[in-house]
């Protein structure tokens, strides 16, 4: 291997450690030069040492100031993302940033402007694009062999509801959960969303009403290329992480189904029993997280455009806001109303 990308990780909570392990053990041309966390504790220190990271900082500024570091992984809490992108860009570090960049579109645009001016690369952490199943569906559609897309469908259901604390600060189902699916429909359709209509209902936990939120939702979408689409969400599927996509095109349909825990089938007089889907995103998308980190590393080392750009970070947030507006006002909302 010729050259390794020197990386600093900012924020070493669950997702920071996940990226840290992947970069250390599964991305051969990446090297973690340093980690930083404002709430650095012994457990984080022990993890970093175990992985073999020598520089352990308690302030992101130390990462930005370190000339050995070429790129950063921003894995801190969501509200800090935009600020850290701006600081990283000014320090001329390439940036991988966990989603969302920010929940305020203005702040996202500001961060993207600084990135552009600094001439650094930015990849946003929409990890599902790197899932082997979804990517295959998208690649078949993008190849044009099925003709033009007509209908784009995404089923996306979490296995179990998160805590009420989490939900209360999540920004609502569309910004928290569906934002991934908004990215997915853009990825699958190869087109921008122009209009959304959302309906929702509370079926899982009545306490969510306090947050003016819903736990079960369907969103209709129109795309610039004339295709139409639909996403359905649930915060509690019970049987695992239900993540299926489908694109109906001129010449037929491309779809995927869930990865199951195993392929065993038990046939008895009561029927055929098989395993459920993998439990949640850590299980389903574990290989996708590696592929995502590998793609970022390769894009920087080869000086190519990252596959998930700043615009890809901005658009799903705008669509989420339009969906929320549609739900609140009981009408179809054009994206152009928000831009």
């Amino acid at each position: 291997m010729s050259k390794q990308l020197k990386i600093g990780i900012i924020g070493i909570g669950r997702i920071g450690k996940l990226h840290g392990n992947n970069l250390s053990f599964s991305v051969p041309n990446a090297k973690i030069e340093a980690v930083a966390d404002l709430s650095l504790n012994d457990e984080m220190r022990a993890w970093a040492q175990g992985v073999g990271i020598l520089k352990i900082y308690d302030n992101p500024a130390q990462v930005f100031a370190d000339p050995a570091i070429e790129a950063v992984f921003i894995c801190s809490s969501s509200e800090s993302h935009a600020d850290l992108i701006i600081q990283a860009a000014r320090a001329k570090k390439h940036i991988f940033c966990e989603k969302p960049i920010h929940t305020d579109a203005g702040r996202i645009r500001e961060a993207l402007a600084v990135v552009k001016e600094a001439g650094v690369k930015l990849q946003v952490g929409f990890v599902r694009r790197f899932d082997h199943n979804h990517k295959k569906v998208r690649d078949v559609v993008a190849s044009g062999r099925m003709g033009k897309p007509h209908i784009v469908k995404v089923t996306s259901r979490d296995p179990e509801q998160q805590s009420m604390e989490y939900i209360g600060t999540s920004g609502g189902i569309f910004l928290d959960m569906t934002v991934h699916d908004f990215d997915m429909v853009r990825y699958l359709s190869g087109s921008e969303v122009t209009e959304v209509t959302a309906i929702g209902t509370i079926k899982i936990d009545a306490r969510i009403r306090e947050f003016s939120d819903v736990d079960t939702a369907i969103v209709l979408l129109k795309f610039e290329n004339g295709a139409i689409g639909v996403i359905d969400n649930s915060r509690a599927a019970r049987y695992g992480y239900d993540q299926r996509v489908e694109v109906h095109c001129d010449k037929g349909c491309v779809q995927d189904y869930n990865d199951l825990i195993d392929t065993a089938m038990i046939s008895t007089k009561d029927g055929i029993y098989s395993e459920r889907p993998r439990w949640f995103f850590l299980e389903r998308y574990n290989q996708a997280f590696i592929a995502e980190a590998q793609a970022f590393t390769d894009a920087i080392l080869n000086d190519t455009e990252p596959s998930v750009t700043g615009i890809d970070g901005l658009m799903p947030v705008l669509i989420a806001k339009a969906a929320q507006k549609s739900l609140n006002e009981g009408r179809m909302v054009k994206l152009s109303e928000l831009i």
Copy 2:
């Protein structure tokens, strides 16, 4: 066999002959006493004789006047259904009527009133309720073992577009195609639709624009019981008749997939190839047509309520009209606006 229901078939085009063959060969307690068609021709006559039907009339009135006949199958052209229901009911014949009863809700109500007054039974031909796959999904949901329904989804795509002549007089995609799916979501959810939003696009044949119609559509639905739903339609799926339903509930998901032409799998270095879904409704629902005729026959002979009632004939037409209104006006439409 104790007793056979004496049936007269009105209209012996494609669907009339289909029911005629099923009643003759596959419904042991049914007997076709007579057939009638205003456009009776030699081919119809030959078919009826081949099946062993002795009374071949050129006017439905002869069927209504025949005291040997206990029930009629109305299989004539759609616009005649309501009139024939009224005449049949007044003649005290039990009625199986192909869908739709009428495209005008007022005329449907009028016919239902006469049926009620006459005290005869009426079953409407929503054959998909008798499909072994859809029925299993519905039975599991209706059993309550999965808890309450949250999301109801129907995928419904025809294999190839019908002729422009057909489409031009079809009443539009919602009254012609989706009407079956509107019945299906009522059947699956066990609840009434309260509100619909429809979007559509033209992706298959631009000539459809002349009829202010679309060939690809998605309809969002809200139900009285708080569930939400979605239907997606295409007039040309290319790979066969795509007929899948899914109900997500408190405890998990119940869904079906398509019946394939056969179960053979061919594995080569290029991948695994298997057969496509059965081609169209005659192939997919052939057993369902038999089950439907059997259910009607049993309901009459056993004096029980038919499983698809007059209200089941009315509601999908109202929903279709709401969907059309939503598409035309670009807004969510409450069913109450139409009633």
Copy 3:
């Protein structure tokens, strides 16, 4: 319809009535002219009248003597088949005969000689060849597109054990059950079996030991074309009728799986549940029985060779005897030892 084949059915027990119903209702160019049964009773008479058969005889000789009859379906008890074939052939009737022709190879050869001399056509009732799934596998192999066959596999398990009375007079598992699979491997491989090795065990009901029989068996096969094969059998699969075939060839593998009762899937935290295979041969092969009767009718009317010939009736019996000899003597047995 130009012309109908006039058929007489001999033996109107379960299988005779099955063919009778199929010929009456599902094979348009067949017509049942007469039925005959030596144990004719009221129930048989009622069935025949219900189906519209006018000539109801109590002796097969009346069928053979009836000049209106062109072909016979021999559906009587197995031990009478060879005799009836001989009588039918001498009466110049074309013959469909249920399997097996006889359990004595000499008697089969005798019957085939008379058939040949009489110049009538004979089709043997190996109905599985007409199953849509198995036929597709065979057609793909026979097309040559996968190259030459290497390995032929058949899984064949009954859902529940038959009664001990039945088993005691069945001639043993190989002549009773596996005989169908011996036909299937010849059909799939397009080659003759040259050598067999059988092993068996008693796992379901110890009483079978009295008949020196087994209830669970595996048979290894060598074919003239150099392919090898294996069949596994059980008299009690519990989960339905397990009927799967697989042919591995130069370029890959062609296989089928079971038709399930329906395609519904129920996903919960306990896993995914789906329906079991169709219960037994009446459910699994009901369409195949129709296709078989249709093929015979067409072959006679079009003067073409039936697709399952007299040799196809002879060879599986010889293989079954070789398998029994292998089981008894604990060694590989060459077919040439028996011929």
Copy 4:
């Protein structure tokens, strides 16, 4: 992490590096203390340094002499395994040894005797036992919930033929390929093989005839517990690594099917296309290799019996020899003839 097992790897060819990477990156309680290879070269050195291994030896004796090392992974060429086991045992190191221990049963017994005397633990590298699919099948059978096993079936086909050089020194298909399946049937059935019958054919490459070997084979098996079984093998399946197992029991059947490359389905008028199985053992069993190394590490650290013992290393070799004898002599062979 409390304690890490200090491991020395002997032989750092393809499989040695595979275990090395897994132990380094995916087995948290394992630590590679040293590696040794008699043909140590720069590439091996670079790999070891990259993984962070500090002691890089050119002689296994250095590993055995190193008091810091608690256990060894024997990954050298097959013929050296028995000798190295003996040396490792005498040096009081716990042993993980790649399969086969030796092709000579006497040498295996000798090695096992030394292991026993030394009181060290030995695990043999039958990695398929750790595959999530096969393990699930076995666990269901072993739980007893399906009752007793009747029929055990293994389909095991390589994607592409190895080189003639490899095949010529492989010891024949049964010792090279089927040996894994012989382990699998023992694992699935929970019983010892008592008798085998093998047939084979040459269908892929005629040059294999020079080695008196075959490339396509089926092996029949009888088990001590009265179950019977069958394995079918091909050296060139073309469509990927076909690895399926099936156990038919009192109450039904437990089986698995292949992991596919992805779950995408493409439906067009030509049928439904999906991906083929994963290509070969590195792709299919990559997680199983990790689970295997984890299980060994845990067994040593927790002082429990390894899940694949020395007897598990011996028996498949004996069965392979019986299969070869059966093929050569054209008869059933009892294992007792070889012991």
